[in-house]
Assembly symmetry: C2
Homo-oligomer: 685 residues x 2
Amino acid sequence: MTHQAQHDTMISGAVGADIIPPTVNPLLQRERDRATLTKDLVTQMTYMIDDGKDKTARRRHIESSLFSDPLFSERDRYIRTSAETFDIGVKRSIRLIDFKKVHNITFSETWDYVYRALTNDLTFGVHDLMFVTFIDQQGTEEQKARWLGKARNMQIMGTYAQTELGHGTYIPGLETTATYIPSTEDFVLNSPTLTSMKWWPGAMGKTSTHVILIAQLIIGGKNYGPHAFMVQLRSLKDHSVLPGRSVGAIGDKWNFGGVDNGYLSLENVRIPRKDMFMKYSQVAPDGTYSKKGNPKVMYTTMMVVRLKIAQECWQSLGRVLTTAIRYSAVRKQGPIDQGGREVVILDYQTQQEKLFPGLATAYAFNAVGKRLQEVFNKVQADIEKEDFSSLPELHALTCGLKAFTTDTAVRFVDMARFACGGHGFLLSSGLPYSYSRLSAGCTYEGENTVMMLQVARYLLKSAYAAQNGGTLASSVAYLAEDTSGQTWPAQTETDVVDSGLLYKAYQHRAYRLVNQVGQRMAQLMGQGQSQGVAWNNSTVDLVRAAKAHMQFYTMATVFDVIKPLALDPAIQSILQTLSCLYAIYMMDQSIGDFLEDGYMNTDQAQMVHGQYLALLNAVRPEAVPLVDAFDFSDLTVHSVLGCYDGNVYERLYEHALRDPKNKTEIHETYYKYLRPLLTEHQSKL
Amino acid sequence: MTHQAQHDTMISGAVGADIIPPTVNPLLQRERDRATLTKDLVTQMTYMIDDGKDKTARRRHIESSLFSDPLFSERDRYIRTSAETFDIGVKRSIRLIDFKKVHNITFSETWDYVYRALTNDLTFGVHDLMFVTFIDQQGTEEQKARWLGKARNMQIMGTYAQTELGHGTYIPGLETTATYIPSTEDFVLNSPTLTSMKWWPGAMGKTSTHVILIAQLIIGGKNYGPHAFMVQLRSLKDHSVLPGRSVGAIGDKWNFGGVDNGYLSLENVRIPRKDMFMKYSQVAPDGTYSKKGNPKVMYTTMMVVRLKIAQECWQSLGRVLTTAIRYSAVRKQGPIDQGGREVVILDYQTQQEKLFPGLATAYAFNAVGKRLQEVFNKVQADIEKEDFSSLPELHALTCGLKAFTTDTAVRFVDMARFACGGHGFLLSSGLPYSYSRLSAGCTYEGENTVMMLQVARYLLKSAYAAQNGGTLASSVAYLAEDTSGQTWPAQTETDVVDSGLLYKAYQHRAYRLVNQVGQRMAQLMGQGQSQGVAWNNSTVDLVRAAKAHMQFYTMATVFDVIKPLALDPAIQSILQTLSCLYAIYMMDQSIGDFLEDGYMNTDQAQMVHGQYLALLNAVRPEAVPLVDAFDFSDLTVHSVLGCYDGNVYERLYEHALRDPKNKTEIHETYYKYLRPLLTEHQSKL
C-alpha cells in the first residue's frame, strides 16, 4: 500500500492496523538476541524487581484484567481536550470501585499495580491514598466506624485540605480556623482572608463530598495549632454545595487534567465536636484540650504519601527509559566512521550518557524503595505500640528520599526527552507527559528544598548528638566516626569501582559536608548572627550536605540490597555493574566535593571518570533487556516511541493521522482566515 | 465583598475587575522603593538592554499598538483547547500582515519586537524567519523576482522542509530525491519510504501553500547531495492538496498548539528546472552540474535561525524570572528566626540560588547576543563579497551559542518553576508554557549535543592548527597559548571575583580540556581505534570541552561588552556584580574542572564558593528592579504570578474562576458518573 493510499484510508477513518507491522523491528530484535540477558533471565529480573514471582503474577493478572476493559486500554490520552481528560478521569475512578471489589485489590495493590498500570490518569488518587489512610490512622474507633467503610466504598468521596492559597509547607502559617464553642459543642470554621482559602487539594473542586480540613484549633481564644476535621462540602442527595462553602476548580495544571484540584473558602461553617479527629488530640465537651504521643504523628499520613512517591519514582523513570532506550535502539543518525553504515544512536557515547545513569538509577531506586518499606513497617508497628522514638529518623528518610528521588528522576526524564530529539517533543512520545507529572512530584507533598532542609536539620542534630555521646539512628550512625583528614585508598581502576571503597568515599564526603556546614553556622553565630539568620545563610550548603547524605545512603543501600540476592550470576553481574554506575556517575558529577579537601587526587579523579565511561560501555549490550525487565505494558508506557515491538515510525505516523486537524483535507482556518487573503491577492495578480 | 459573593459574581459571568486591586502590592512596592536602582535608573537599564533609547521607544510603540487590538491582548492562553490555540495562531498571523505594513515593521523588528511581545503564539514563524530569508539568500535574481515579493506579502505561504521522519541533523542521510530529467527539463521528487517522509516543518500540515524542499539531487544516476527546491503543495485557488503530495499535521506538541507542524510524502511530483535554488549551485538544461563558493553557504539560513534562537534566549529566561522574582518578593513562607515575622521567600538563600544565577545569565546572554550580531553582520558582508573564510568560525559560534544558551536557560527556567512551588505548576503561572517552549529550542534547528560536537570539532581543528603554526580565528586564539602547568594566581576574596583572574581560570580550563581530549583521541587511535570510533569514545569529553569553551567565550564577552559602557555608576556596579555572578556561579558548579589538575587549591575553591554566596546577597536588594528593567509587558509575561502590580493571589483566584469546569456549580460528571453511585449507595444506607 502506498503512503498516499494509506493516508487516504486513514483520513477516511480506517485507522491503524494496516500501518503497524505485526512483527518486532529487526533492530530491536537484534538487541534482544545478542544480549547476555536472555528472555528467561529477563523474566527472573522482573520477579526480582516485583519482589517475587507470585507478585509478578498478581500484577500481570490485575493489569490484563484492567486492560480487557476498553476504558482502560484506550490510546487517546494525547488527543483529548482538558474537559475530556477530566471526564475520563472521573469515569475511570468510578469504574475502578467495582473492579477493585471483584479482584479483592488491597491498598498497596491499588498503588503498586493499578496506579502503575494506568499511570495515575484518575481523579480520586488523593481519596485512595490520603483520605482513607488518614481516617484509618487518625480516627478514633468511633470515627472509623462512622467513616472508614463509607470512604472505602466511596459512599463519601474525600480529599485532604491543608495547603492554602498563601501558605504551603509552613504549617504554623495556616490561617483557616476552627473555633470551639462549648455551649453548642461544635466548631466554627472560617477562612477569613483570600490567602487562607484552601487551594490545591485533588478532587476538591467539583467532585469530593467531604474534606479532611487542617485548621488552627482555637479554644477560649487560645491557638492550639493545626488540627484535622472532617467537613462535608456537598450534599449527598444532589451534590449541591452546602451553605458557607465556596468551592471550585483552580484551573488547568501541567498534564494533570484528570484531577479537579480545588479551592475552598469557609464562612461560619459549623461542625459537631465529634468530627474533629481525636485519636491523638482531644477536645472535651467543656473545651478542655488534651493530647498524647508525638504531635508529629498527625503527619504520618504525609509520611505514607512521601514513602509512596519515593517508591513510585523508579516506575516513572523506568517507563521513560523504556521509551528512550527502545527508540535509541532503532533510531539511526549517521555513521561512526566516515563512509560507514549508519548506526543506531544507542551506540553513541553521548546518548549512553543521557540514558544509562538514569537506568542505573531506576534500578537503584527500586531497591531503595524496598528497604524504605521495611523501615516504615517497623516504625508503624512501633507507633501502634505508642513508641514514637523512631519517628524523627523516618521523617528525615521519607522527606529526604521523596525529594532526592524526584529531583534526580526528573533530571533523567528531562535528559531522556532530549535524547529522543524532536520526536520526544511530540505528545505522542509520552515524554512531555511523564516529565510534567514527575515535575509535580518535586513540589507537591512537601517542596523538595524544604524537604532537604528537614534532612539537614536532622543531620546537624545527629552530628551534635554524636559529639556529645548520644546514640544515633542507623542511617546517620556514620556521623559518630570522624573521617576528616583521611585520603582515598583507591589505587587502581578496579579499586575505584570497589563497593567498599566507594562507600568510604561517600561516607567521608557526607561527614565532611555535614560537619563543615555545622562549623560554618557556629562561626556565623559567633559573628553575632542569630541562629535563624545563620541557618538561612547556610542553606545552600545545608542542602548540599543533605544531598551528599542521601547519595551516600542510597548507594550504600543499593549494594546492601543486591549483595545477598541469590540470582543467576549473569544477573548478579549486571546488577553489580548498574550499582557501580549509579555510585560512580554521581561521584563523577560532583567530583569537586571529593577533590576539594584533598581526599581524592588527580589520578583518582581521572580513573573515576574513565571507569564511568567504561561502565556506560558495559551496560550498552544489555540496555534493551534491562528495560524489558521492568515489564511495563505498552499501554502503561503509552508512547509511540516505546512499544515492545519497536515500530516507532509506523506508530508516529499512525498517531499523526489521528490528529483532529487531519479530519478534513482543507482545514476550517483556510475558509476563516487564509481564503480571504489568498483570494484577494490572486485577483490582483 | 465576601469571597462567597465574589465567587457568585464570577460564576455568573462578571469576571475580573473587582477582584484585582488597582494598586501595587505593598510588598513589591517596598522592593522598588528600597533599591539603589531607582525608577529612572531602571529606565536607563532598559535602554541599555534594548540597545538604545530610540529602540526602546520603537519597541514600546509597536507593543502598545499590538496590544490595542483585543486579538493580541486577550488572556485566555491557558484556557484554550488545542483546536482553539491553532485557530488563534492562524488568525493572529494573518492579522499581523496588515499590522506590519501599517507600521513598516522590518524583518529584525518582527523578531525583536513583535515576536517578543506575543511570545510566538503564531502559526507562520517559519515563513517569516526561514522561508523568506532562504529565498532572499539562496535565490537567483530571477527567482527572487518571482518569489520574494509574494512571500513577503504572504500571497504564497511557505515553510522549510529538511528533517524527515527517520532523519534529523545527519543531512547526508536524507532520503527524499530530486532526479533531473534532461528531456523534459524538470525534476521528479520522491520520498520512497516511510522514513523519508518530511516531518516537523512548521505550518506545513494544514496551512502552507509552498515548501522549500531539501532533497538529494540525482543527475544521470549520480547523487550530488542535498539541494533546495521550491515545491507547491496546495492550490492557490481552493487550497486543495496537489497530486502526488500527501500532507497533514503530525499531532500535538508540548505547548506548541499554534503551529501545524506537518508531514509530507511525495510521489513522482514534477517541478521545472528553474525551481531549484540556483544561486550557489546550478543544473544546466542538459544536466551539467556546477557550483560556486563554500557548499556550507546553503546553511546560512540555518545560521540566521540559530543566531536568532541564541539572541532570543535571554527573553524567555527574562520573562520567567520576571515572574519568579516578583512572586518571590510577595510570597511568604515562615520566619527566619523562630517566633519572628514571616519573610518573603526572596530572602531565603536557597531561593536566591534558584533565581539570581539565572538573572545574571539573562543579562549575560543579552550582551552576548549583541556581540554575536556584530560578528554575524561582518561575515554576512564577507559572503556578499564571496569571501567565505569566516564561515567556519561563525558556524561554530552559532551552533555553540544556540546549544549553550538554550541548554543553560532551560535549566534556569526549570528551577524558576520549582522556585514558585505548586503555583508554578498551574498553567496560569505561565511557567509550564515557558519551560516547554524553551525545551523545544534544545532540539529544534540542530539538536544541542550535535551542536556542541560541531563546536568540539572546530576546537580540535583549531588546536591542531595552533600546534602547526596556523592562524586562529579570534574566538579560539587562546588555543595558541599553552597554559598547562600554571596555577591560579588568585590570593584573596577580591581576587576570585577579579574579571582578569576569572578570565585566566576559564582560559586555562578550556585550553586543558580541549587539549586533553585531543590527546585522549590520539591515544585511542594509537591503540588501534579508527578515527570515528576514537571520536565516539571521546564524545562525552568533547562535549565537556565545548561547554568549557562556550563558558569561557561568554564570560569573556560579557565583561568585554559591559566595560566600555558609559552608564550611571550604580548601573555599572550592578552590571559588574551580575557579570561576576555569571562567571563564578558556573565556576562553583564545575569546581572539579579547576581543582582536578591542581590549577586551583582548596582555599581558592572555598573562596570561590564564599564569593558566590556573597554575590547572591549583593543581588538581593536589586532583584526586582533588575527584572523590571527587562520591561516586559504584563501581556508578554502572561502569568498570574508575574504582573507588575504583584497582586498574585487575586490573579490566581480570578484565573481559577475562569476554569471552564466552574461554569456550573454541579459538574456534568456528577450526573454521568457520581450520581448513580451515590444514589445507589445512599438508598442502601
